[in-house]
Subunit: 445 residues, 2 copies
């Protein structure tokens, strides 16, 4: 926003290659990627071609897959193959998913044999599985090796830095025995046996396990890498912490979008076409609209009474908003507690007891606060109706908000579908029923 | 849930120490911590005391600070001091925040001099700052050293594994020159100079920088550790990826809670008292309730017309729900895009143009779909009113949902306060105004 900030777009427009080169030298790979993504796609190759090879790869790695695929599209074939082989196998697999099948095939064919094999291994695992996200390259060592032997093996492997932070220890059948942290190997006396350095708490996942499960395990256990095993419990890859963080960000975005009643967008906001943005919202908006027809039916059933006492209509939005809000609050808190593993299905009775109490407290508070103003502005009969309705709506909505997400989970549905908009719409019709029933009973209409 | 699963609670109740010990040996530290947290607080020391010392520390580290502080409370003083000194300085600082001042003081006094100093350094930085989360222990090396010299220094330092994954390179004034990844040091020929191994893209943060900013940088740049500098740009600590993941989880929980109209809970759901749960929701519920009084005023202004045409009341919830939902969808998507850095304030015009178009598409869809049913069930006049209202409410709510979060950010407020419930409540009164104005104009009432 500050006027003195020179953006990459300005520099590209000015066509001053010298200044552009200076700017690229000053910035980190991350900032360059960030600015690159904000350029018009056809302009992106201009600064990108000015980068030295190793930085170009670092910048390319920092781009979203959407931007990667656009950039590949804009670059000449020769540059493309070079970039593509420089990627990690898991990043390559993700990018291939994004590309048109024809381009993907051509790129795969252009890879050297070893890289193609690694990529194809990952592509064989289901999307969003731990296997799809792992790196198939690792250095495995043996219990019987000395620390010095093991370090020699690490040196010879020539892998990337993040691929050797944790070293899996395997037996003759490629079964995992444990893991050793590279620093422990480095700091141990040279003659120490790997056996003595092996971590007693070794966590693993299966190739087919959900990527989020694996990523959350890395997070909870403070790991830098997690061994991934096949169905015969043989080691086939390692999931690293940087990929875990990416998975978590992606899953959290999905959860947050669902919580707002939006189908998850898989591309960055500004890259998504307006039509895509609308499509991701249309279905929920429509479903919720159809569900809201129930409220029309409920009000229709009491239309005569409203005609008689039009004051009844006054409080409809206030009451259903309050129900919706308290339901949304409860479901938000419970869904999050489930997502981070703080509560389990077995805790359902405890959740319900707590939400019922919370609903009663909040309902009592609102009911008491509303009584005097409504009495003053209308009459004591209406004040009674509004206070009682606020109480029961709060209790009911809070209870429903606590109940529905665990029920969804039990049925194998993502609890996050019970988002604020869904809960709001669901408790609206029942809230109106509560309201009119109390009004009929108290006011005798 | 499965009946054959033996829980820790069952074992503790059975008082079978042998079985308890077997169970503890079979489980990972993470699972033990998980089960321990689910025991009644006074029972937790029983299994905990059976753990060998190093595992006890691992389990203790895996507990939430709330559970850590409860466990310390239940253990004897002697065990406590030992556990406390075994923690990382940043974990210790977090735990001290949680403890009663008296206990905190006693524990600090019980620490050896070096540990107390490290902890006090962190406690001197503001809460939620990068300085508060970093580890003040690291091994800094010099550009002029050889790889072998540097490795010797790492070996002598005797730090924990995760503290040496990345080695900061500093000059005589403790200014950061760059960083070297430990694996690069290990795999380089022994005579290589540190200079040649230094990473060209070195990211840093300041001690006072927000913890989320630092954690997101680690995530975006795929780092395992990030150097933290003081105001004179001298290196004072290193923030590691495991702490970054914890920070991100905590920040996402806050965002998700806010998105549901709940003040963030800082303790696990089942640990929070019912009163605390209610208090975290009461303020927002009350504020939203007060804001909803506006809807009463709007309807009050049109009460005569409703008395005349009671059919008007039928559609109130349907229309305001749709407005609320489309507004919530827009704000959810925009808030998330801002949180992960996909859009900036400068993108506001682009956001508004897109949301306006999306709102028009969704509004047109709903308006068209509603026309025929309303015509069939009521009449063509009402069908026109409902269709037009749906269109304009959708456009307005989507526009407001896209506009308000960036405006909040510009004013220095967390954009997440424009949660689904807040947007819903805000667009309700205006939605009713749109509805009644169109009804008056079209139906001539």
């Amino acid at each position: 926003m500050a006027p003195e900030t020179v953006t990459l777009a300005d520099l590209v427009e000015s066509r001053d290659i010298g200044q552009l080169r200076d700017w690229l030298e000053e910035q980190g790979a991350l900032d360059i990627a960030d600015e690159l993504a904000r350029l018009e796609p056809h302009l992106r190759p201009v600064p990108f071609r000015l980068l030295p090879k190793d930085r170009a790869l670092a910048v390319f790695e920092a781009l979203d897959t959407v931007h990667q695929s656009e950039l590949l599209d804009a670059l000449a074939d020769v540059d493309v193959d070079e970039l593509f082989v420089g990627l990690d196998a898991d990043d390559r697999a993700r990018l291939l998913d994004e590309l048109p099948a024809k381009v993907a095939r051509r790129l795969l064919d252009g890879l050297p044999e070893w890289a193609r094999r690694n990529t194809n291994i990952l592509l064989g695992y289901p999307e969003e599985s731990a296997g799809r996200q792992m790196s198939p390259r690792f250095v495995s060592i043996r219990s019987s090796m000395t620390a010095a032997d093991a370090l020699t093996k690490v040196r010879r492997a020539g892998l990337r830095s993040r691929e050797v932070l944790v070293l899996p220890v395997t037996d003759d059948e490629r079964h995992l025995v444990g893991v050793v942290d590279l620093p422990d190997l480095v700091t141990a006396p040279v003659g120490t046996r790997v056996e003595e350095l092996t971590n007693p708490d070794t966590y693993t996942v299966q190739v087919d396990d959900d990527q989020e499960l694996a990523a959350r395990l890395i997070q909870e256990a403070d790991l830098v890498a997690l061994p991934v095993l096949d169905h015969e419990d043989r080691l086939v890859g390692v999931l690293t912490v940087d990929d875990a963080m990416e998975v978590i960000e992606q899953e959290e975005t999905e959860d947050i979008h669902r919580a707002g009643g939006v189908e998850p967008l898989s591309v960055p906001y500004l890259e998504a076409g307006v039509l895509l943005l609308a499509r991701k919202r249309a279905l929920w908006l429509l479903l919720l609209g159809v569900a809201a027809v129930l409220t029309v039916t409920v009000i229709g059933g009491f239309e005569d009474r409203i005609e008689e006492v039009s004051t009844l209509a006054l409080f409809i939005p206030l009451l259903i908003d309050t129900g919706g809000n308290s339901g949304a609050q409860a479901s938000t808190v419970v869904i999050r507690a489930m997502a981070v593993g703080e509560v389990r299905l077995a805790d359902l009775p405890r959740i319900l007891r707590r939400e019922l109490l919370v609903g009663m407290m909040l309902g009592a508070m609102l009911g008491l606060l509303a009584f005097v103003p409504v009495w003053l502005f209308i009459d004591i009969g209406f004040a009674t109706v509004i206070s009682l309705t606020l109480f029961f709506i709060c209790v009911w909505a809070t209870f429903a908000g606590g109940l529905l997400p665990p029920i969804a989970k039990k049925l194998g549905i993502d609890p996050a579908v019970f988002s604020a908009p869904v809960i709001t719409t669901l408790v609206d019709a029942t809230g109106l029923l509560i309201y009119f029933s109390i009004a009929v009973a108290v006011l005798g209409i």
